[in-house]
């Protein structure tokens, strides 16, 4: 195997954005239902000066007429606002982003949200407290939807083993829950927070406030892959029925269209700033930061709720050499909180730090031994990213930003 062979079809030469800390190994997003394996991903775009598309978008953000966007939001709210009952669904966990979104839509824009939560795998104490305060102090009705735990655990394990992406089932459920609940309660509008395009997808996706509902196009169960396996195979192997997979299957698109359901990103209308969302949530919904620094990054206000989430970032680090510190610093550089130099220092200090605190919880959740965990991790170390240092007896990245 060529030493520079990239396991996932990503560029073989590692390069870093000239403005932030992100590298060209960052894949753009996948349609999760179709993911059978990890091959042949597409990286995010870079321009001729090697500036990544999220950074380009961040510059572009400064030129947007936010007053005009605010007027658009007001118009939209005026159109959907109801005198009684719920007029919007705001999905989220009570973290800073959903806390900010729900609160501002209710109190500034006069909407009546039903907040809807796709339960974290395992709530942390601080995550649970913030979730409760979201309702208790923020003042919202909430539906907490916990999927079939037995299935969710198995899917998480399959996703870990087959894709090294343990968070995949969570991401799928989280994307569906908003429209699903909106559909069930006949609420015509769903508001998510940031547009994922801010982080690296097609920049053109930022020009529309709406989520493309073709994502929910009628799927035949034969076409759906969860955790890299076909639903039929999972049913057979683990003794489930088709009914058990309901939360992971998109709601009927015809029904959605009939109800004129719209799914918007608040980040299109309001200039998104993660740190300001944290301040807002602290000041308005009783949001509290992590009592300790989150392993793998310097931040105490991101990634608080779910014990398993750190493994999402850790596996991402293994596959793409991009850890949570890189992610957070890139974002804070774009919003002018830190300089690139400071970002690099933080990446050097924290990126790829092993999430020891909830390791046993994770192994228990997916019912895997320590040995098997590491065997699996090592299978996904692409030779173009990793080499094993025989002297220090540990894996090292071939190239670092520092």
């Amino acid at each position: 195997m060529n030493k520079n062979f990239s396991l996932f079809g990503m560029p073989e030469t590692i390069k870093f954005c000239k403005k932030c800390t992100i590298s060209n190994q960052r894949p753009s997003s996948t349609i999760e239902f179709k993911a059978q394996n990890t091959n042949n991903k597409k990286g995010i775009d870079f321009d001729e000066n090697f500036i990544c598309s999220p950074c380009t978008y961040a510059t572009h953000k400064e030129k947007i007429d936010w007053e005009k966007r605010d007027e658009e939001l007001l118009k939209l709210c005026d159109k959907f606002r109801k005198k009684s009952g719920y007029d919007i669904v705001v999905p989220g966990s009570g973290g800073k982003d959903s806390a900010y979104a729900a609160h501002i839509l209710k109190y500034k824009y006069g909407m009546n949200p039903l907040t809807v939560t796709w339960a974290p795998h395992e709530y942390t104490d601080i995550g649970w407290k913030n979730f409760i305060n979201w309702s208790k102090i923020g003042g919202f009705d909430n539906i907490l939807f916990s999927p079939n735990g037995r299935l969710h655990r198995i899917l998480t394990r399959l996703a870990f083993e087959n894709l090294l992406h343990p968070f995949q089932p969570f991401i799928i459920g989280q994307k569906i829950i908003g429209p699903l609940m909106a559909s069930k309660f006949d609420i015509p509008l769903v508001f998510y927070g940031e547009n994922p395009a801010e982080y690296g997808n097609n920049i053109k996706d930022n020009e529309s406030p709406k989520m493309d509902l073709e994502f929910f196009s009628n799927q035949k169960k034969e076409d759906i892959y969860l955790g890299g396996k076909k639903i039929d195979e999972i049913m057979d192997q683990f003794n489930f029925r088709l009914n058990d997979f309901q939360p992971y299957m998109a709601p009927d698109l015809t029904k959605i269209k009939k109800n004129n359901l719209e799914v918007h990103y608040l980040g299109y209308y309001l200039k998104w700033d993660q740190q300001e969302a944290f301040y807002y949530a602290s000041e308005n919904t009783g949001f509290k930061i992590n009592p300790e620094r989150t392993e793998g990054t310097y931040s105490k206000y991101v990634g608080l709720d779910d014990k398993i989430e750190r493994f999402h970032f850790y596996t991402y680090f293994i596959k793409y050499g991009i850890g949570q510190a890189t992610w957070d610093t890139a974002q804070e550089i774009r919003t002018d909180k830190i300089t690139r130099e400071e970002g690099i220092a933080l990446v050097k200090k924290f990126d790829g730090e092993f999430p020891e605190k909830y390791f046993l919880d994770f192994l228990d959740y997916i019912d895997l031994s320590k040995d098997d965990f590491w065997k699996c991790i090592d299978r996904y170390r692409s030779p173009h990213l990793w080499n094993f240092d025989n002297k220090e007896k540990k894996w090292k990245l071939n190239k670092n930003i520092f």
Partner: protein, 241 residues
């Protein structure tokens, strides 16, 4: 009661955190320093909030500039790790230096610093958080738990002989919901002879009045949000007290 504005600095800006997290820009260091001096501050504390994180000291150049026009005691903290750092800080215009991380990692450093520069020059800065009924000392701007218990640490500082302790409640810091009463009561009960500056949580004058009975001659309070966000000004605060 000494009334001491605390100005947190990152690069060229004054920043204000909540629970020691976040670096929201709230003003210009020179403007705020001059304002607080002219409004009657008893002393001013300047903290470089990212010095420890990045292993650098950028604040000294800034201090040199505005200390020329400020004639009340100035305390400078953030990333003070060596005796040389202290000397540089004093030369830049600091009258006192505040030490947290370096002291927790090596208490001998505090002893040496007190001996070399005089105990009245050394302020022990403590960031404290309550975890399951026990108060713990943190460092690196509230990021790392030293696992050292608060009361043990203050007793040590009391013996080492620093000038005073700057005690910041991480739970209350930046919240503007009032000082950490439970913490202050606890400290008061223990009768430490070293002067204490209580920091974290003040949002209005009533908050100060509420803790007045715990403040002994020589103690002080440190104010940030209430001043930076213009919720109250120093002249009013001093008048009410």
């Amino acid at each position: 009661m000494r009334i001491i504005p605390k100005i947190d600095i990152k690069n060229d800006y004054v920043v204000k955190s909540i629970n020691l997290e976040g670096v929201r820009k709230v003003g210009n260091p020179n403007d705020l320093a001059q304002k607080y001096y002219h409004d009657g501050a008893d002393e001013i504390i300047f903290m470089d909030v990212v010095a420890s994180l990045y292993g650098r000291n950028n604040i000294f150049d800034l201090i040199k500039k505005f200390s020329k026009d400020i004639f009340i005691p100035i305390t400078v903290g953030g990333g003070i790790r060596t005796l040389q750092d202290i000397e540089t800080a004093l030369y830049s215009g600091a009258d006192k230096v505040s030490i947290n991380s370096a002291g927790l990692k090596n208490e001998n450093f505090l002893k040496e610093a007190s001996k070399e520069f005089g105990s009245s020059t050394i302020v022990s800065s403590i960031e404290v958080k309550k975890i399951e009924n026990q108060w713990y000392c943190y460092y690196e701007f509230g990021r790392e738990n030293s696992q050292i218990k608060l009361l043990d640490w203050i007793s040590k500082i009391n013996q080492i002989g620093c000038a005073e302790v700057l005690l910041t409640s991480i739970d209350k810091e930046g919240t503007r919901n009032g000082f950490d009463l439970e913490l202050i009561e606890k400290i008061h009960q223990n009768n430490f002879n070293i002067p204490i500056i209580y920091s974290g949580g003040c949002g209005n004058i009533d908050d100060i009045i509420n803790i007045k009975k715990y403040i002994l001659e020589g103690d002080g309070i440190s104010l940030s949000s209430i001043l930076h966000y213009n919720l109250e000004n120093l002249k009013n605060i001093k008048k009410c007290l």
